[in-house]
């Protein structure tokens, strides 16, 4: 009886939580489908989104920033973390501390600093954001890769490949990358999620990206803005949920195989 009561207690907590999570989402969806002042519903606001002049253009800018951020992130982080695991163990503690630093500095403050002192070649291009996003995501991407690499006997695999005459590039591309693919995907998705929704750096460095455009568009049409919010939330959630739910599963199976 006592345990039943307790289970009931925790079930109630979970139920209330569920309501707290899904109700605002439901409310936003309902609101975004209102047809102006009339009490009818429809998809007008969603049509409105696509009629806006900046929509495709700004989405494309954000997509390009994201691609560059993902490439930069993987180019820098994958070889570094691999090396740390293979032969740089004594530097691991140092890198752990260095990569967590961006978590300590508020993004607003980082943006302020970036406005002051970025390399001048990058100052006049929107792609400076990609570089900053790699920094902001680093505490998460480093950990995702670090955890992924910890589960594999990388040194053994690498030595085997080297004994068979593979070059280091080949070892990296044909042995290490396929082995740790789930954690590479994890790092990739983290980067994409951050880059698609980032507002603070873009706004403070005076660039119009998709999230900034959404904010500006919202000032003219509140229902349309809610539609945009619902649309971008669903898109980001689908991406993130897909990755965490299925990505996690993948990494388990791979670890069992290895």
């Amino acid at each position: 009886m006592a345990t039943e009561m307790k289970n009931l207690g925790s079930k109630i907590i979970l139920l209330v939580t569920g309501i707290f999570i899904f109700f605002p989402l439901y409310a936003a969806t309902e609101f975004s489908m209102r047809n102006g002042a009339e009490k009818t519903h429809g998809l007008n606001a969603y049509r409105w989104i696509f009629q806006q002049s900046g929509f495709a253009e700004n989405l494309a800018i954000t997509a390009r920033i994201t691609v560059l951020a993902v490439v930069l992130n993987l180019l820098i982080m994958v070889p570094t973390v691999t090396w740390l695991h293979l032969s740089g163990q004594r530097y691991k503690r140092l890198i752990e501390i260095l990569t967590i630093l961006p978590l300590i500095i508020p993004v607003v403050a980082l943006a302020t600093g970036a406005q002051l002192a970025l390399p001048s070649i990058l100052e006049n291009t929107v792609y400076e954001l990609s570089f900053m996003y790699v920094v902001v995501a680093m505490p998460y991407t480093y950990r995702a890769l670090d955890i992924g690499l910890s589960g594999h006997p990388l040194a053994t695999l690498t030595n085997a490949a080297r004994n068979l005459g593979a070059s280091w590039i080949r070892v990296l591309m044909n042995v290490i990358v396929p082995t740790i693919r789930p954690s590479i995907f994890a790092a990739l998705f983290l980067m994409v999620a951050l880059s698609l929704g980032e507002f603070t750096l873009a706004q403070l460095l005076h660039w119009t990206t998709f999230p900034v455009w959404v904010t500006n568009a919202s000032q003219q049409n509140i229902i349309g803005a809610t539609a945009l919010a619902v649309g971008s939330l669903f898109f980001a959630w689908l991406l993130l949920f897909g990755f965490t739910f299925f990505g996690g599963k993948n990494s388990n199976t791979v670890q069992e195989e290895a």
């Binding site: 605002p24 993004v107 919010a229 619902v230 980001a236």
Partner: protein, 303 residues
């Protein structure tokens, strides 16, 4: 014939295309150079420049006057508001987050755990403008909850409630604060092994004694660490606050935004840097203990 040489030497040699620099490289981690350079250029250098400018007058001379301004209104008020918002929001996130994590732990289902972890990961990253609009649709003046309550005779806005307020921010922030709490506190709860509970019971401890002497002392450091993390996340939130408040609440991130955005005269730029410097200091005070506690507790949690 190639041999399985010590990978220590080999990997370093690899990035220098051959092994000519072995002697030099064994003391200098060349493979770390890209990461070091990247962090130097895009992180340490901007932070350094910002710190330097916080102590400079408009003529470029050293001065403490920007920093002194932080202790005068409206900036003093903004720091007070932001810190209070951080503390209340952390509390509002930490308590339900802990209860939810405990409820999930109690249910014991792996699928539920995984599902909740996925959802939390998603929600913890939900911020900014979309989040603000979602809550506007529910709790805004024309929102679903507000109009439903109005139809049964409760006029919340008439009673003084508004989403565009301090309370409103706390409600909206809870949407990402609670999931962050669930994510960071769960490992600590999972690590509380049921054996400990059983052995305490076998030794004659009551449930209350177990929690008082074992459970709470073990969980408290993690709880404090999570609280600090939540504080820092609410303290520095910018996008949601900017979308939701209309300049009616003085908050440090928003003040920095308007000082840096060029909406003001140029001679106030350095004041903006001083504000950002102040933010970094407050954030450091919360995050350094957080990282320290986390690295300590993760040791026994893994065993």
């Amino acid at each position: 014939m190639k041999q399985a040489t010590n990978p220590n030497v080999d990997m370093k040699g690899a990035s220098s295309k051959g092994g000519a620099f072995h002697g030099f490289l064994s003391s200098f981690p060349l493979p770390l150079v890209p990461l070091f350079l990247f962090l130097l250029i895009f992180f340490l250098w901007p932070i350094g420049a910002l710190t330097g400018n916080a102590f400079k007058s408009n003529e470029g001379a050293f001065t403490l006057s920007n920093i002194q301004m932080l202790f005068q209104d409206p900036y003093r008020l903004a720091f007070k508001n932001s810190i209070t918002l951080g503390l209340i929001s952390a509390l509002v996130g930490a308590i339900p987050g802990l209860l939810i994590a405990m409820a999930i732990e109690k249910q014991g289902s792996q699928t539920l755990k995984k599902f909740v972890a996925s959802i939390s990961g998603v929600l913890a990253n939900t911020g900014g403008v979309p989040l603000a609009f979602m809550f506007l649709a529910a709790f805004g003046p024309a929102g679903l909850v507000i109009s439903a309550l109005k139809s049964i005779g409760i006029d919340l806005y008439g009673m003084g409630f508004t989403l565009f307020s301090f309370t409103g921010l706390v409600i909206v922030y809870a949407y990402f604060q609670i999931p962050i709490m669930v994510i960071v506190i769960s490992p600590a709860l999972t690590a509380l092994r049921s054996e400990w509970k059983d052995s305490a019971a076998n030794l004659g401890a009551s449930k209350a004694q177990y929690w008082l002497r074992v459970g709470i002392p073990l969980l408290l450091p993690s709880f404090i660490a999570c609280f600090l993390l939540l504080f820092a996340s609410a303290f520095s939130a910018f996008a949601t606050a900017r979308a939701l408040t209309v300049g009616n609440i003085a908050l440090v991130p928003l003040q920095i935004g308007s000082l840096i955005d060029g909406n003001v005269t140029v001679n106030q730029f350095n004041l903006g840097y001083a504000l950002a410097f102040g933010m970094i200091i407050v954030s450091l005070l919360a995050m350094i203990p957080y990282i320290w506690i986390q690295s300590r507790t993760s040791k026994w949690q893994q065993k």
